[in-house]
Structures are given as C-alpha cells and as structure tokens.
Symmetry: C2
Subunit: 256 residues, 2 copies
C-alpha cells in the first residue's frame, strides 16, 4: 500500500501531480488543497505548521499511506523547523515524508556546472533560508517572487504580460550569472516559457515536480495504480477552470 | 460612543482607513485584518460569511461600536445574502453596519454623466452581481481583476510593470465608453495612477474609501477621536512594510 497523499496550500500542487502522472501514468492518489486558507507564502511558520498537520491528518483518514508535501512554503517550513516536521510525520502516521525542496536541491546540484544557482520562490520560502542551507556548497542567489503566484493563478503567464515584471525580478540571476534556476514554487512551472525567454536556453530550469518524481523512483517507491480524488477546503465555482491551468485538464473537486 | 471597528480580509482595508483619516484626522478605531485566511476573492459566500462573523465579534469585544466592512468581497457577499448580513449585524451587536459597496454605488451614480459605469473588482465581487443589481438603472461593465491584488500587495503598481496587464483588463471599459470606474477592491486605489494613464483623465475613478468617509458624514456619524489599534490573524515579519504600502506609514500590528 503506497497510495500517495498530496498536500498543497491550493491548486498549484497540481503542477506536481502533472509531473508525477507523466512519470507514473496509472498513479492513484488523494489530493488535498487548502484553498480556504491559501496563500501560505506570507504566513508565519507556526500557522503553516498548524495547517500542514491538519492536512496530513485528513489525507491519512482518506487512505493515503505516503505523504507528499507539494507546497514549497510548507516544505521549506518543515525543513527549517524539525519540531514542526515531527508533528507532521505523526499526523501522517508515516515514517517517510516527501517534499518538493529536497529533490529540487538534488536536481539543482546535479544540473549546475559553475555552482551558481538561482532560487525563485515565495517570500516565505526565501526567508526560510532552506535552499541556502542545503546548497551551502554553491553560490546561491535568491529572488522572492510572490507576485508571480497571482499571475499564474489568473493565467497572465505569457511574455507580453509577465515579461516586464520578470525582466526586473530575474536581473539578480543575470548579474550573478547563475546557470541553474530552481522554480521553487508550485506555480512557477507555468511561467517557465516566459522565464526562458529572458534567461536564455543555456540556463537550466529545475521543475521540482519532475525532481520529485525522480526521487520517488530512486527510493524505489512505485506509487500504486488506483483512483484519484481531489479535496479542497473551499471549492469556488471556477475550480475546474483553475485546476485546468495547473493540471492540464479539468477535474471534479470535493469539499474537504 | 462611536468607535469604528474596521474589518478587512487583510491589509488592503488600510486604503479605506487612509481615506477616513484624511476626512477625520483625529479618528480612533480598531482594525482587524484576517491575514491568516486572505484572500477572500476566490472563496465561497458561506466561508466568507463565517470569517466575517468571527471578525465582527472580535471587533465588538475590543470596543468597536460601529462596524465598517472595508473588504469589498465581504461587503458584496453581505449585500447579496441578507441571511449572512443578519448574522454579521448580530455578531457586531450593532444596528448599523457600513460597507464599502453602498457608498461606492452612490458616488458612481453621482459621478456618471452618460450612465455608463465600469466596475473593477475581484472575481467574487463581480460574481456577486451586487453592483449590477444596485446600479440597475445604469449600463454596467464589469471586469474581474483579481490579478491586480497581487500586483498591489507586492508593489508592482507602476505603469511599466502593471501596464501591459491593465491595458488588456481595461479594454472592455474603453469599448463600452464608460465615464466612471469604481475601484471595487481595497487594493485598487494603489493602481489609480496607472489606470488613469490608460483610461485618460476624462474617466472618473471612484475610491470607495473616500465615498465611505462621505457616507459617514451624511449619516452624521462623527467618528470619535481616540487610539488606533491594529489586529491581524497572522502577523508576518514584513507586516510593517506591507502596511506602509496601503496606509502610507508604518504601524504596529498585534496578533489577534
């Protein structure tokens, strides 16, 4: 029994789900999006920890054996606060807990040629300092980019609309001549094309969802085939349309 | 005793506070920002109603006699759902309840020459249909613009960065040749200059905070002079800086 329980603060985690489905086409899972309380990126570690514990308990009650934290902010918070991580493990009733930060760090380390890595994340992820800690042997340039979350949520991700903001945001990466950039928020893979337009093809972009799928393979976790259920703490009318932006198809979401 | 209790989903309501302070320089009030659960713009009426009731109870316990709902989404929800409004009145222990929609509607009606009014709001405000209902005698063009909330929160409100998005967003207003636009979200007055750059000076922009201050005067409510306290359900480190964007000065915020 290895059914995955995937937790995110909202719908962004569906970019992680999409990456998992590409690697494991038959994968079954339970998804929990805390849409009533998102975004986490501007909240305190204590609040984020409380919400994460509640989410993992919920996923466990709905049959998930292996918890996956798809939310970068929650992943960073847990990595930076061992006490909160312990509470989360207890809530999940699991000895393993996958997050999106650890695999992204491994992928960045494998990708960089010059040891200069850029981190594009929310304010909370950047503040947690987790990437600098885990990549202490590299030259890390961090850019807080919470504004991109709204652009991705609302579908303004093309170069014409997101371009002027991205041009300014990405300047520190260009100045530091990074060769690898971690898209350290679930929403940011949606902006990959516009980011590539500015940084050029020689800069590698790390999609943590893809890195997570590789990490599961490496741990010899074969997610079992099965049904897929989607829960959210608040289900607005346009959920299906919004989910489509992240997952690439519409889904039916149940009220958690 | 007329101390105002001002409720918003976050910090945006401070643009309303700023307008009130300009009209009543000595005004005392209690402010409550539900930063742990924002944004409301994508949530359901039931969830928004529950949060509003909790906020008004809190403000009442902290000495507020006259409740002011500075949040557009909550104002629209209450105006569209009499049962939720009744619960809110009971929670506030008040017979009066000011919101930002009613005064904005009055101001728009007074401003329009041709009867063509634009509403720029969050998805939830637009969906509530409240402006179309209250302005049924005008030709109303609505534009959902939740993306602007993030731009304002993060300070990307100048023409260079917000311009390309605003150009597309405001097209329906230009096509409909509106002569008045309601900035129907607390955050949008911060974008007034960039909006004016695109729509031109002949289009009147209604700032609901200013309209609310006028409404209080008309109701002969003279908010009493006194202390000012700011509560929030989650108080991130950068609260002071963020508050500064909306209020024009830094403040000390207490955990609610």
């Amino acid at each position: 029994m290895n059914m995955l329980g995937i937790f995110d603060s909202g719908l962004g985690g569906l970019t992680v789900v999409r990456a998992l489905e590409q690697k494991f086409p038959d994968i079954g899972y339970v998804y929990y999006g805390d849409t009533a309380r998102l975004p986490y990126g501007t909240k305190t570690p204590q609040t984020i920890g409380r919400y994460t514990v509640a989410a993992l308990e919920y996923l466990r009650r709905h049959g998930a054996a292996t918890p996956v934290i798809a939310c970068h902010t929650a992943s960073s918070t847990l990595a930076a606060h061992p006490d909160i991580r312990e509470q989360a493990l207890a809530a999940a009733g699991s000895e393993m807990l996958f997050d999106v930060v650890t695999p992204a760090v491994e992928a960045a380390r494998a990708s960089t040629r010059e040891g200069r890595i850029g981190i594009l994340g929310t304010t909370a992820t950047v503040r947690s300092g987790i990437y600098e800690t885990l990549l202490h042997d590299a030259e890390v340039t961090q850019v807080p980019a919470s504004v991109l979350v709204g652009l991705a949520e609302e579908g303004w991700t093309d170069t014409r609309h997101a371009g002027p903001i991205l041009e300014d945001l990405l300047l520190p990466f260009q100045r530091a001549r990074v060769d690898t950039v971690v898209l350290a928020c679930t929403h940011f893979p949606l902006l990959a094309e516009a980011i590539r337009d500015i940084l050029g093809p020689e800069v590698q972009l790390i999609d943590p969802g893809e890195a997570l799928a590789d990490a599961l393979l490496q741990e010899e976790i074969r997610p079992e085939a099965g049904s897929r259920r989607y829960f959210a703490t608040d289900v607005p009318n346009d959920f299906s349309e919004r989910a489509g932006r992240f997952l690439g198809r519409n889904i039916e979401v149940e009220q958690a």
